[in-house]
Symmetry: C2
Subunit: 419 residues, 2 copies
């Protein structure tokens, strides 16, 4: 089943707002085997909306329109679509009562008059209830033509799409079709993109025509997304599993999780299983490592805290780096990273520790230690191990990558895949 | 001057990639007085690209196409556009030599044969040099029809658009037209959205028809974006300045900067002017405050470091909170926040300090101290001041907002706008 997507909003065409609804809808629909063949965005102008809906109906027959509902933009989308279908707008009593109730429940006895237009619907439209906001979704069907109107507020749009629209579209397409597009993503860290590509070698060519592999590099590492295209639903999961099973021996320890897994959560879970506590000492990352760890709910069961040792005096005083080491090797060195890890573990009474020191830039680089140079160390089972890497990118890139690689180093040490 | 934007990529229609190019282009073009009236996205399918380009040319006459260049997708865009214009593809020797040079300079003496197609251009096209990548931009004009092809890689697309396309479009439109859309953004922090809206009152209605005001709330605070629409270039800056001057008395100290200003940079700059150093003590934010500060290049001139005091023992040992205070008031309390700020300043020998303690959730809330409750304190000129707030949102929201409000508190204390 094919459809088109139309997002409405002057803010969108001007680029002031990034159109995340379109990306969400594309993914959610593809996962249900519904293909978005085209998408368009127009400003809050009735004639443009009408023209775009008309064109989409002529081409594809089905269009989901997001945005341009609600009192502030005069419900221009509803009026435009009613015109395309040659239907009147009629006030729906049930919606009107719900709107009034919503305002009452928020302590406003009288609903602003402007909001009443939100209860107007094209005659014969099916109303899709929207518990997250005031404007309901609308389903307007006429022979082979189908228009679905959704509000533009992301959480309302996502809720209606998932709970109301996709099940109805799937039912309409009939169980007969049943071919789906489905994805699984393997997350990797602690390895550069080109090194990962080398390890994969010609794997992509072995996948056949129904499965594709996409490389998705980010500051958190590289995700490998496998997608099966237009296969019967019953075969999709098996095809993905087979593709991923073939991948694993090639990438080895670089894979830390799947889908939405966060590396910090993986590390904390493993430490909790070992009954260990954790402390960190950060220089160039300045708190990012702590922030990543404490973003995980329940981090307090494992993570005791840390020291942001930005100034050299702090490295001496709080993490127990010796003045001699600092003078001899410089702040960005293996020796300092090792002493920071050992020192913070001792000071906090933790069984595991991580330490990072580096040159994030834009200034501070030398020929010997260019911007991007990072030394990191981890302590686990009384043993300190260190690594160094010259990270590419700007200040933020270097810091984010350094934090993630350091987390990954501890993961690999605990898994026994680092010597 | 109006144009349409077409982005090409199956990843885009499927929603696997968010279309940030479209947002970038919309903003950059609007700032130059060029209006994007419509934008569309199609998959990597020649027939779809051809149809979309054709339709855009018929409607608007000018279309910028981004994506679908480069060897991996067989240069489908170039071929589709050549067909629309009825032109042949011819191999351009200059581009071919540049491509070969690029490969040589990366240590590959032989360019892969597949890359040669990148040197094919529709006959008569103007070549827009792309120093950031292998595929150049192309400008194809024929009477009133104009198609501009740009690669989809964001940094290449942005560079070509800014350096090559916009100046040419502006020259083509002629100085005569000269009406522009221009924006300025005032950044606020430390105030809730509805409180800010109350302060603004009916200000929006006073702006007239040529200036609009948009509220852009985020975890960093609320940005107020003023936009002038279709005014002569000579009047644009004055109209914006007038609108913003009228705003300032209403929002008072809540405005910390403009445009891309970062609150942490504002605070660090002020401390540097005062010749002061800074230390932080973080519980619920777990390092976020340090991360925000150290994201600013040159932070080391002011910021000494901090303690992430996640476990209570760390609050006692490293930030000098007394066991009695902790037992009597609990970790999330005014007294603990105050002792953390004073203690970390003393321990680090800093003249300024910030401390945050709170319940980020999802667990840990009580009736008295619900999830979102945060106590923070700042130290400046030997005086500790504290504030509390119950932040809305999930764990990440609470943490991000708490870090930002604490920074803003120190800013206001230094400015003398907090008692």
């Amino acid at each position: 089943m094919d459809l088109e997507l139309l997002t409405v909003g002057t803010e969108l065409v001007l680029g002031f707002t990034v159109d995340t609804n379109a990306a969400f809808a594309g993914q959610a629909l593809a996962a249900a085997g519904i293909r978005v063949v085209r998408r368009a965005t127009v400003g809050d102008e009735p004639a443009e909306v009408r023209r775009a809906v008309q064109a989409a109906l002529e081409r594809t027959g089905t269009v989901i329109v997001s945005g341009g509902l609600g009192p502030t933009n005069d419900d221009l989308t509803k009026a435009a679509v009613a015109e395309v279908f040659g239907k009147r707008l009629v006030r729906d009593d049930a919606i009107l009562r719900q709107l009034e109730e919503r305002f009452r429940s928020r302590g406003m006895p009288q609903m602003p008059a402007a909001n009443a237009v939100q209860a107007d619907v094209p005659e014969g439209a099916t109303i899709l209830p929207n518990p997250r906001g005031t404007a309901p979704g609308l389903w307007i069907e006429d022979g082979a033509r189908l228009v679905i109107l959704l509000p533009g507020v992301p959480k309302e749009m996502h809720g209606l799409l998932t709970e109301e629209v996709i099940p109805r579209l799937a039912a309409r397409a009939g169980a007969a079709a049943g071919s789906v597009i489905r994805s699984r993503t393997i997350r990797t860290a602690g390895i550069g993109e080109s090194a990962l590509a080398d390890r994969l070698g010609a794997y992509e060519a072995l996948l056949g025509t129904k499965v594709t592999l996409a490389f998705l590099p980010s500051l958190d590492g590289t995700d490998l997304r496998f997608t099966v295209w237009n296969v019967p639903e019953a075969e999709a999961d098996a095809a993905l599993a087979k593709a991923i099973d073939g991948l694993r021996p090639r990438i080895g320890a670089a894979a830390y999780g799947e889908g939405d897994d966060q590396l910090a959560a993986v590390v904390l879970r493993r430490l909790e299983q070992e009954g260990a506590t954790l402390a960190v000492a950060e220089s160039c990352t300045g708190g990012l490592l702590g922030a990543k760890l404490t973003a995980v709910p329940g981090a307090s069961r494992v993570f005791l805290g840390g020291v942001v040792a930005y100034a050299n005096d702090v490295k001496l005083g709080f993490t127990g780096v010796s003045a001699d080491t600092l003078a001899r090797h410089g702040a960005v060195s293996e020796a300092v990273a090792r002493e920071m890890a050992a020192g913070v573990a001792r000071a906090f009474g933790a069984q595991a520790a991580m330490a990072v020191t580096g040159i994030a830039g834009p200034d501070g680089g030398t020929t010997e230690k260019p911007v991007g140079t990072v030394w990191a160390a981890t302590l686990w089972k009384d043993q300190v191990r260190a690594f160094t890497y010259v990270f590419p990118g700007d200040r933020e890139d270097v810091r984010m990558r350094a934090a993630q690689w350091t987390l990954d180093h501890l993961r690999c040490v605990m898994a026994g895949t680092v010597g």
